[in-house]
């Protein structure tokens, strides 16, 4: 009985991973296909769709926007989140639970739910549709993400180190710059990478806030898939592969620092 159950689970996991391989593999193979129609593999291969895709979807401009948005959101999330996470890790105060809730809600509530009112507000102040609007909106979930990723790292830094520095005559600023910041670098790095890769892959808010010149790669990909039939599907898949390469490159970096289960477990304990 137990054996049978284990076998069923094993087969399911294998099936799921195969299904993932099929989903990703189809996109990759299709992007290199000369023409592909109901056969196991395309008849001929070409790299021409990448040049076509780059030109037709104006990927140079789209990629520039993507990188500007991702870099700005990361810098702002770390800049604003660092002091917040540090104080949350070090001090207990009355409003702490209310603050934790305020930081947690944007992560819990789906972006479509608060994205509509947020977009309404930003369009009213004429920030909607611009790159600034996309950055401002993405910061809403990314700032809490940065804070919650950094929090456990800061809690691990011993307060005694700070006291020791103070006893030896360091000022508060010196303690922060010479003791806290160097010890916090792993946390900053992890949070920064996670925010970077999440922002690039973040769809809903960017979709609601972006206009003609402020689409990120994933939003441009959405429109291309949505308007399937306007352009050859192979060129859409070429764009998908470019997007995938960008995300995977960053993901490899992230996984060097974080184990997926460990990250999830930490976030979970924090709630």
């Amino acid at each position: 009985m137990v054996r049978l159950w284990r076998l069923a689970v094993f087969l399911f996991v294998v099936g799921f991973v195969l299904n993932l391989a099929g989903i990703v593999g189809h996109v990759v193979v299709s992007s290199f296909a000369r023409r592909w129609f109901a056969t196991a593999l395309p008849g001929g291969f070409t790299t021409a769709w990448y040049a076509y895709s780059w030109r037709e979807f104006q990927l140079d401009q789209v990629l520039a926007v993507t990188l500007v948005v991702a870099a700005s959101v990361t810098a702002l999330a770390l800049g604003l989140g660092f002091p917040a996470a540090y104080l949350l890790a070090r001090h207990d105060f009355k409003a702490k639970n209310a603050l934790l809730l305020l930081f947690f809600l944007p992560l819990l509530i789906p972006q479509m739910t608060y994205g509509i009112p947020l977009a309404t507000t930003l369009y009213r102040y004429r920030i909607g549709g611009t790159v600034a609007g996309v950055i401002a909106a993405n910061l809403v979930p990314m700032l809490p993400l940065a804070i919650f990723v950094m929090l456990p790292f800061f809690e691990q830094i011993s307060v005694n180190l700070e006291w020791a520095a103070r006893v030896h005559g360091a000022t508060r600023v010196q303690v922060f710059r010479r003791v806290v910041v160097p010890l916090a670098i792993p946390g900053l790095l992890t949070a920064g990478l996670l925010v970077l890769v999440t922002t690039i892959a973040n769809f809903e808010l960017t979709f609601l806030l972006s206009g003609a010149g402020s689409q990120t790669l994933v939003v441009a990909l959405y429109y291309a898939v949505f308007a399937a039939g306007m352009r050859p599907i192979y060129s859409v898949d070429a764009m998908a592969v470019i997007y995938m390469a960008l995300v995977l490159a960053l993901l490899v970096l992230v996984l060097r620092f974080v184990r997926p289960t460990q990250m999830v477990f930490r976030l979970d304990r924090r709630n």
């Binding site: 608060y114 947020l118 809903e204």
Partner: protein
């Protein structure tokens, strides 16, 4: 601290309040429930609540049960765990749009799956994309890994000594699960239910790209989006967003009530530190 809190107050709490206020405004600027009435009295719009629920509820149950089964079996580690968990992070990192495009290809009528089925002689397999099934597949591919990693983290955090003790005292695998592990896992499963349900209820890109956005999978998020950006009716769009949020809250409340009920049925919970 202050800048981060202020930013979220201005960009999260204020728009929410503004959206709720806007949803209560009628065409002449007065305060009324006109938008909500219009939404619920228009069958085309009101139907989206049912459509979304009929996707979100079965998918949540399926996702959580599968994830629980696999995570429970893998609780003390298995071979190639690191490889498997890394592979599972892929769909989370790649995001809904890319997964949707891949599903359209792989599960499509000309995709590898259908070719494989035809090779073994199944020629009239049901269509798997651009309909309800497509959205179910897309959501499962997207949320199973998330749910699995969360539950795996939760379950492997339980002290293995409890289980060993039960085994020494003669409990079989089913008794161990039912009497020892389940009471400890239940809170984590409730959290998983809540998170997956809320995400499923807000489904947008998958419902458009792999579904049938003008019919069978016109979810409430699509209705809100169309009202805001195709009809430029922001107060109606806000009303729909509020209805969507309300449904998500109702779902959360139901899950919490169920969980309390289950805790109250009085299974022995020795060793469960927090309740």
């Amino acid at each position: 601290m202050l800048p981060a809190a202020i930013y979220l107050l201005v960009m999260f709490v204020y728009p929410f309040a503004y959206g709720v206020a806007l949803s209560l405004q009628d065409k002449s600027g007065g305060i009324s429930l006109a938008n909500y009435l219009a939404f619920f009295l228009d069958p085309w719009q009101a139907r989206t609540v049912w459509v979304t629920a009929s996707i979100a509820v079965p998918n949540t149950v399926l996702t959580v049960l599968l994830a629980l089964g696999v995570a429970y079996t893998m609780r003390r580690g298995i071979r190639m765990e690191r490889t498997i968990t890394t592979a599972l992070v892929l769909p989370i990192a790649l995001g809904t749009v890319l997964v949707a495009e891949g599903i359209n290809g792989f599960y499509g009528p000309k995709g590898w799956l259908n070719q494989g089925l035809m090779a073994v002689g199944i020629n009239d397999a049901p269509r798997l994309t651009h309909n309800y099934t497509g959205v179910m597949i897309a959501l499962l591919v997207q949320h199973f890994p998330f749910c699995f990693l969360m539950l795996l983290g939760y379950i492997s955090g339980i002290d293995p000594a409890l289980e060993s003790a039960a085994r020494v005292l003669g409990a079989g695998p089913w008794a161990i699960f039912r009497r020892v592990m389940w009471p400890l896992i239940a809170p984590g499963v409730a959290i998983a239910f809540a998170l997956v349900f809320v995400m499923n209820f807000g489904v947008f890109p998958s419902a458009v790209l792999v579904g049938q956005p003008a019919g069978a999978t016109r979810t409430i998020a699509i209705a809100a989006y169309q009202q805001a950006f195709e009809h430029s009716d922001m107060s109606m769009a806000s009303a729909i967003a509020v209805v969507m949020g309300g449904c998500q809250l109702i779902g959360l409340a139901l899950i919490l009530v169920l969980r309390r009920r289950m805790a109250a049925t009085g299974v022995a919970t020795m060793g469960a530190g927090k309740r």
